[in-house]
């Protein structure tokens, strides 16, 4: 029943937005409040999982299932969705989009949220793939809200690279199913994850290695792992900020969730060493690419996009470092989601005020919008991994896991790359925060409610930084139990 509560509100919101022909603000607010319902459902699932009951399933041949891993992701997706919807364009003050664009935006943004929630709660691996493909299609529709050369180019690249990537992932799924059929014949619920997991030890190792390569490349494209990351900076810098907040914060997390699901199956089939090495290799490469791309950067949205690639790389490395690493990786994922979504929403506010995404033209942010500036600075300090915020703890845990897994050389490289990204990010953000504001920029704060909402996420980050709330720790232990048995 809670599944309905989880998935249905976003569908309802999409329908509502579709029917109300000329877009009106009340629709926006209704959608925002509806998203809180699915957040409640997600939290209910988390509580259910913590209560230790068997994972609830739903639908014909157990279509949907929520175990520890998916419960954690559900909470993340629903939370960021709620945050993004409360900051969607068209709420409150004047917005640069007209009625039709806003209407299209609200329809597809809610469909996008529905697809993500479906992907996370799908028990059937095929349905998960379909949902992830659906996220690409829905989000592609609303990247070019305002038809400019840049947004069209970004959206074309986005739709093409991601669709090609995802289709390769489907090839991987087919190969696994082929191996399953070869092992124990055709079965209707073959693609259900628990069934696949139980059959995994019998699968042929060579076929599973090929299948994992397809899957890793496929979902890696969606997760923004280098060298398949090329669509990410363009898409995130051109999309409207709430959407890019969701894409950067949670869509990458959903793709990583899919990779983790498949990693468990593959590890059961041929032992963890193969998948770990691949993940470490690609993780380190994306960390390298992201860190050095940050050094010379002229657009602050692209800067944030590259920093997402950097953190995806870190999470991949974490996944490849055994149980301790998985714990650190998922803690990192949660912290990164909170920090990055806040930052993208803030960058939207900055763009709205400064009318430009160029770093040169944005300066004196602390004088123009003191509170937003302070939030932006704390966001930057968070993603750069400085103490009061959670990412410092998760990076510490990650590197400790690295040392425990006996890979000091790799950890040294990771530390150096994190250092490069640290200096680059701070140099650019200092340029934006300090100095004299350019003339012609109105001094004045954004809405009080918006700042309060963002302070909420800063609060979450600080709480994660200083302590680890018991429910989250238990949930993460559940995840580790599921992933690195």
């Amino acid at each position: 029943m809670t599944f309905v509560l989880l998935l249905f509100p976003s569908l309802l919101a999409a329908l509502l937005a579709y029917t109300v022909r000329p877009y009106r603000v009340v629709v926006g607010w209704a959608n925002a409040w509806l998203s809180l319902v699915s957040l409640g459902a997600a939290l209910a699932f988390a509580a259910l999982v913590l209560a230790g009951s068997e994972a609830p399933t739903f639908g014909p041949s157990e279509l949907l299932r929520a175990d520890g891993l998916s419960a954690l992701l559900m909470v993340c997706v629903a939370a960021v969705a709620a945050l993004a919807l409360f900051f969607s364009p068209g709420l409150g003050r004047e917005s640069q989009y007209d009625g039709a664009q806003l209407r299209r935006y609200h329809v597809f943004v809610n469909l996008f949220i529905f697809a993500m929630l479906l992907a996370v709660s799908a028990n059937n691996v095929g349905i998960m793939w379909i949902a992830v493909e659906a996220t690409t299609i829905f989000s592609a529709m609303i990247i070019p809200l305002a038809l400019t050369k840049a947004s069209v180019e970004a959206s074309w690249k986005y739709i093409l690279i991601c669709s090609v990537g995802i289709t390769l992932a489907f090839a991987g799924t087919v190969l696994t199913y082929l191996d399953f059929v070869a092992l124990s014949g055709r079965a209707e619920n073959a693609l259900n994850w628990p069934v696949l997991l139980s059959a995994a030890p019998g699968l042929h190792p060579e076929v599973m290695r090929l299948a994992f390569v397809f899957l890793l490349i496929g979902f890696g494209t969606k997760a923004g792992i280098a060298p398949m990351h090329t669509w990410l900076p363009d898409a995130h810098s051109e999309a409207p900020s709430p959407l890019s907040a969701m894409m950067s914060g949670v869509l990458l997390a959903v793709a990583l969730y899919a990779i983790t699901r498949w990693k468990v199956v593959v590890d059961a089939a041929l032992g963890p060493s193969f998948s770990n090495q691949l993940l470490l290799l690609l993780g380190l490469f994306s960390l390298l690419v992201a860190a050095f791309s940050l050094v010379i950067q002229r657009n602050y949205k692209r800067m944030l996009a590259y920093s997402s690639i950097e953190h995806t790389g870190l999470i991949c490395i974490g996944l490849g470092l055994g149980p301790l690493g998985v714990f650190a990786a998922f803690l990192h994922l949660v912290c990164h989601t909170a920090a990055k979504s806040m930052l993208f929403v803030l960058s939207g506010e900055v763009l709205h005020r400064y009318r430009s995404t160029e770093l040169e033209r944005v300066s004196g942010l602390l004088k123009v919008m003191p509170w937003t500036g302070a939030l932006f600075m704390s966001g930057i300090l968070a993603i750069v991994g400085l103490p009061p915020f959670g990412l410092f703890i998760s990076e510490f845990a990650l590197i400790r896991a690295g040392f425990a897994a006996g890979r000091p050389g790799l950890m040294a490289a990771v530390l150096v790359l994190i250092g490069v990204a640290f200096v680059a990010l701070l140099r650019h953000s200092n340029r934006m925060l300090y100095g004299a504001p350019p003339e012609g920029v109105a001094i004045g704060e954004i809405g009080r409610w918006r700042i309060a909402a963002l302070f909420l996420s800063v609060g979450v980050l600080v709480v994660l930084g200083l302590t680890l709330p018991a429910p989250l720790e238990a949930l993460l232990n559940q995840v580790v139990k599921v992933v690195a048995k």
Partner: protein, 219 residues
């Protein structure tokens, strides 16, 4: 006899699909491009029926009908309309000329054979002979996507890639579970519609659908 007829028919069908894929490479004008794709989808639909009949998988018939409707009737018609509407001039020179792209295609098929050797050994189904060909179609779909500059041809390349995977699915597993199959078709259709809308957008903003101009967003 009964089994090898089935496997011969399937290998024949899949080699047909591969042939049309390669034919796709040496087509100049857009119209002939879409035709090659249409014929490829037709052969694939027929293959669905054959596998459905011999492999005693009745739901494959329904899948074949849907596949036929989608990939042979619906998508090519839209592509034609799109081509006319966007008055795509002659296909601009691809990155790789015809002869070298054929050489690369053959190399890719050879690579596909080498890579899918363990898969063929693992699968006991009579239709396992066609698996390397399916992988070949996948690689060729990818190659078309990379080498063609026109947005429309990129969409066709993407669809060829999808055909390759559908072929892999039907040969390897006699059809994946129905819900997933329908979901895939739904995705393919929606994906195609979105890409089609984007081609119009590109045409409006860039006055031509040559993807070469799409390079302002860099670094």
């Amino acid at each position: 006899m009964y089994a090898d007829l089935f496997s011969q028919l399937t290998t024949l069908g899949s080699s047909g699909v591969l042939l049309f894929g390669i034919a796709l490479l040496c087509r100049r004008s857009l119209h002939t491009f879409v035709d090659a794709f249409k014929w490829q989808s037709l052969v694939l639909a027929a293959l669905f029926v054959v596998v459905g009949h011999f492999g005693h998988a009745p739901e494959l018939y329904f899948v074949a009908v849907v596949f036929f409707a989608l990939k042979v009737v619906f998508i090519p018609r839209y592509l034609e309309r799109l081509a006319r509407r966007v008055s795509a001039e002659r296909e601009s020179e691809p990155y790789v000329n015809i002869t070298s792209s054929l050489v690369i295609a053959s190399l890719l098929v050879l690579l596909a054979y080498a890579i899918t050797r363990p898969v063929v050994l693992a699968s006991q189904l009579p239709t396992r002979g066609g698996l390397p060909l399916a992988m070949g179609v996948i690689f060729i779909g990818l190659f078309v996507l990379i080498s063609r500059k026109n947005a429309l041809t990129q969409i066709v390349g993407f669809l060829v890639l999808e055909n390759g995977i559908a072929l892999l699915a039907v040969l390897g597993t006699f059809g994946i579970p129905l819900i997933v199959e329908l979901g895939v078709f739904l995705d393919v259709m929606m994906g195609f519609l979105v890409m089609q809308v984007f081609v119009y957008h590109i045409h409006d903003t860039f006055e031509s659908i040559d993807v070469e101009q799409l390079n302002q967003l860099r670094h």
